[in-house]
């Protein structure tokens, strides 16, 4: 019966959709990952591929650069590439299918596209202000240019 637990058998008989559904189910049932604890009570949390010092995805890197541009350093981050429970679980937690995922004070903000849009139209400065962070752009001479 050990063949049933062989990875090649698993991949051969279980469709990608069912494999993913199974992983999501496991992540939900897992008591190892408490996403509420990971995001609540912290100003900025980013679930990303890689780390802020070494991002392994262009979209994750873009989020880190935007935050850095606004002077947000030392934010909490989780590298989903190093933990499959977190990688699948966070998608189930937010019902959002892609990485990166950004949280401000425990509230899901969005991914790279949303962060970039908020940065371009100045909204990000206001959202950071709501969580007690003064954007570095307010102190720079060209901070007003962020509004389109």
């Amino acid at each position: 019966m050990s063949f049933l637990f062989c990875k090649s058998t698993w991949n051969a008989v279980v469709s990608p959709a069912n494999r993913r559904a199974f992983m999501l189910c496991l992540a939900q049932m897992s008591s190892k990952v408490n996403f509420d604890e990971m995001v609540k009570g912290k100003p900025v949390v980013v679930f990303m591929k890689g780390t802020p010092d070494a991002p392994r995805c262009g979209f994750s890197n873009a989020v880190c650069q935007i935050l850095k541009f606004h002077g947000v350093d030392g934010f909490e981050s989780y590298d989903v590439l190093s933990n499959e429970d977190i990688r699948q679980g966070v998608k189930e937690y937010t019902k959002w299918p892609t990485i990166p995922q950004v949280f401000f004070n425990g509230e899901f903000i969005g991914g790279c596209d949303i962060m970039l849009d908020m940065h371009k139209n100045g909204e990000l400065i206001e959202e950071l202000k709501k969580i007690g962070i003064r954007s570095a752009l307010l102190d720079s001479s060209d901070g007003a240019d962020t509004k389109s």
């Binding site: 959709a17 559904a21 903000i109």
Partner: protein, 107 residues
Amino acid sequence: MSDDKPIENALRQKLTDALKPQFLDVINESYMHNVPEGTESHFKVVIVSTAFENVKRLQKHQLVHKAIQEELDNSIHALSIVAKTPAEWEVSQDVGKSPPCRGGAGL
């Protein structure tokens, strides 16, 4: 529609059916990433629709996700979305440029 782009074709069809867009562009950006040639894994969707009126930014993206849930569950590795109302599109057609790949985990 060509048969060698099944995912791209499915995205275009499903988004058209679900959101009745005034403008839709589905761009396969897989060539920009660490994946084999011909892969359909990374996409950018630019979509303009009245379905996005009075809808918050997060929810705009969620409407797009809902329309193509099957492809997101099974095929697509990354999705960049530009979702605008017709009025927003009239103000600006800037869709930005997706960031360069950083290697990822390889597919």
